[in-house]
Symmetry: C2
């Protein structure tokens, strides 16, 4: 062979791009049943590549449940004494709607200005495929990998990931690894190598407020009848004040502030508040707790949000109903070290306490997940940072995300392993929107960075 994996990466860009284009042409939209054959084609495509390059036990894992999509597993475990990484990605995509806003068809990849435009380009086919290509480089040059590798690729990330969430805990021995690599996030800014080291958790509830036994006419009863909307408004303002502080007793008790070093590093990130507010959000003001930077509020402070209020009359015109019931969807984002179970208890007790006279309230839990954070001191993170720096020639930055990536929690809970979130997307890549793209230099740098990571861990 004679060449290194990195020379191989350099020499095979056109082949990598051709492969990516083939994968992107498959409309593997997980939410639409008519695309089941495409889901199948996408998973077969990746299975074929993994098998072809030398991965072992390549397995398309069917779900026993109707309407679910297969997982793809593959392993290579012939590096005794070396670490084992579990590589995660997903081959399914969001629907392309609204199709008319695309400048080129969503499933006919088009290259403009070093970007490849297609549904799934960055989320997550491009980023899944770069893991595959990084592994390929070692097989094609050294004939072996510097570490042990397991792939677990899902086809339901865009529809809730039910299959993988059931599969992982049931197969913890098979999936045993030292760390997971999740290639499904973004860089803080172009050319800035980024590791995502924390995610907020979530407690999502419905709060139902019930007044009279049946809907009442506001003419006949207004002034004596308890109004569930008024009650919910009072309760919402008592849950979170206009200062952004959540008033649930004990809520902040376990909140752990990021280290001074982490906060200082966030301050150095190229974040422009005005741009974020005006261009990204289209808002006229940012709200939230005083004394915390925007990034700290988004990444490391818990929040409480109302997502919708059901009940009464919301159609055209004027119906004067005082409804018997109104229901608010209320969620809380959690940060380390908040305990979802404890938060649910605190929330439920407080909601009961602040329920106004004449109203019966009920809290229903819809979902919950703890926050997760990986120490930047961890060897898995440190090596990933080092690998990215080698490729991008810049110091790797650490960010967190205010959202949740459920699989991180699944790996944490079921496999007891941290997730290294190496992502190569850009903030303007239009995830879930028309004209999704992937910046091709990041595709190639991503392959190389992952290769460097394997190499560093194998030393």
């Amino acid at each position: 062979m004679g060449i290194s994996p990195f020379e191989y990466y350099q020499a095979n860009r056109q082949q990598f791009l051709d492969g990516l284009i083939s994968l992107l042409k498959i409309p593997s939209i997980s939410t639409l049943p008519e695309h089941r054959p495409d889901i199948r084609r996408a998973v077969e495509f990746l299975a074929g590549e993994l098998r072809g390059m030398g991965m072992k036990n390549v397995e398309i894992i069917e779900s026993e449940k109707e309407g679910r999509h297969p997982l793809l597993y593959a392993e290579w475990l012939e590096a005794p004494g070396k670490p084992t990484l579990l590589l995660y990605g997903h081959y399914d995509v969001q629907p392309p709607d609204p199709v008319e806003e695309w400048h080129s068809p969503p499933f006919e990849p088009a290259i403009r200005d070093e970007n490849i435009y297609a549904r799934g380009a960055v989320d997550d086919k491009g980023q899944t495929y770069l893991l595959v290509k990084a592994v390929e480089g070692f097989f094609k040059t050294a004939g072996k990998l510097p570490i042990n590798i397991k792939f677990l690729i899902e086809g339901e990330e865009e529809v809730g990931g039910e299959h993988i969430e059931e599969y992982v805990p049931a197969h913890a021995d098979k999936l045993k690894a030292d760390a997971a690599v999740i290639c499904d996030t973004e860089m803080f800014a172009p050319d800035l190598p980024t590791l995502t080291t924390g995610l907020r958790g979530l407690v999502y509830t419905e709060v139902e407020a019930r007044g009279a036994a049946h809907d009442l006419h506001s003419g006949m009863y207004g002034g004596a009848a308890p109004n569930p909307f008024q009650a919910l408004a009072e309760m919402v303002t008592q849950l979170k004040g206009p200062d952004g502080k959540i008033r649930i007793p004990g809520f902040y008790k376990r909140v752990k502030r990021p280290s001074a070093a982490e906060l200082a590093a966030w301050k150095r990130l190229p974040f422009k508040e005005g741009h974020f507010m005006k261009k990204e959000m289209g808002a006229t003001a940012l709200i939230g707790e005083k004394g915390y930077s925007v990034l700290e509020r988004l990444w490391a402070r818990p929040t409480l949000e109302v997502h919708g209020i059901r009940g009464g009359f919301t159609g055209e015109g004027a119906k004067t109903v005082i409804p018997a019931v109104a229901t608010a969807k209320v969620s809380m984002r959690l940060v380390p070290d908040m305990d979802p179970k404890e938060v649910i208890k605190q929330f439920t007790a407080y909601v009961k306490k602040i329920t106004p006279k004449g109203i019966k309230s009920t809290v229903r839990l819809l979902s919950s997940a703890p926050a997760s954070v990986v120490s930047t001191e961890s060897r898995w993170i440190a090596a990933a940072a080092e690998a990215m720096e080698q490729v991008f020639k810049k110091k790797t930055v650490y960010m967190r995300s205010g959202g949740s990536i459920p699989i991180v929690g699944v790996f944490q809970r079921s496999l007891k392993i941290p997730s290294v979130m190496m992502g190569f997307g850009l903030p303007d890549d239009n995830l879930h929107a028309p004209n999704e793209k992937f910046h091709l230099p990041n595709f190639y740098r991503g392959i190389e960075a992952v290769g460097r990571y394997f190499e560093l861990l194998g030393k």
Copy 2:
């Protein structure tokens, strides 16, 4: 002839009942286009009776607008020097749904325990028809009426009354009268002759709260993004406190408390708070302003109610959206002497003032109507009270209604006449519900009371 109208009423009960049954058999549901032929049959039925008995210029008035239903007009103006009454009723009915809950078919009138069960029995065919029969008694005995009479009967009361609201102001000369008689209300309790002397007004608005330019993900933006639901909750609690007091500056300025005599009379009404709360509303508490009785709160105090809040996500499951826009339907009930225009101004200014940072609010007016009240000292009311007392052998009580009857406002504004609301329904007559009924003794007593009223006014 030889007999009096009152002897005629006594002798013709079976004939009146047969006529009522025929009218109730016609399913004149104004909201369902497939019932247009029935609407036509109902108006022709009444026109035929009015023409037959001797009313003049009987006219079925078509609307120029598509999908509207005709008015029925008739007059007899041959009592010079005597007052003129404008008699109002409506011949359209609500749909009978849910049909399966009826004990006898809604358009096959059935008599059980002195009640006639049918859709429209009390609302308002029975009460419209008793006006017709009261007039008939004079024609059939004296050959003339003691006063001048105009009928104006509509076929759209259950769908908003658009036709009559346009017709009245455009034909004020034709409809000129001293007072209107509206036979579409109820008695406070069985056997208790009742006049409704006041109605609350209404200002109905939509309050839109707009945050960012587009929907945002609560994971990515929660903690910095203005949330329109949070804003609306804060605004609603500032509009009305938990004490039921409305906080809009100047809102109560023109509120005129009922006279001490009226308040004292309300206290004597057979009103049982516990029954009202538990049986009628199915509630566990009554809310509202301290220091005012329930009836005063319902009839003579303004209120503010939220009827629905649109926006965000209210479906099944957990979607973590912070919507760009949320809109609350908010109405206020007005009492004398509040001015709707002034209230709208106060409301709009105050909403603007309490709109939180980062939110743009807009108030849209959907409809408005002033409160109306007729003095119990008015000769039209006094004579009606006297007429009812003669028939029911009990002192007539005065109540108000917390709702609005838009036609009262139309007559007030366009014709400058008060409305005498003589109603013979009972609180348990199931208006707009399955098993609507009319208590037959009240049908006959209603005919007689209206006849006595004509006679008293003609003296």
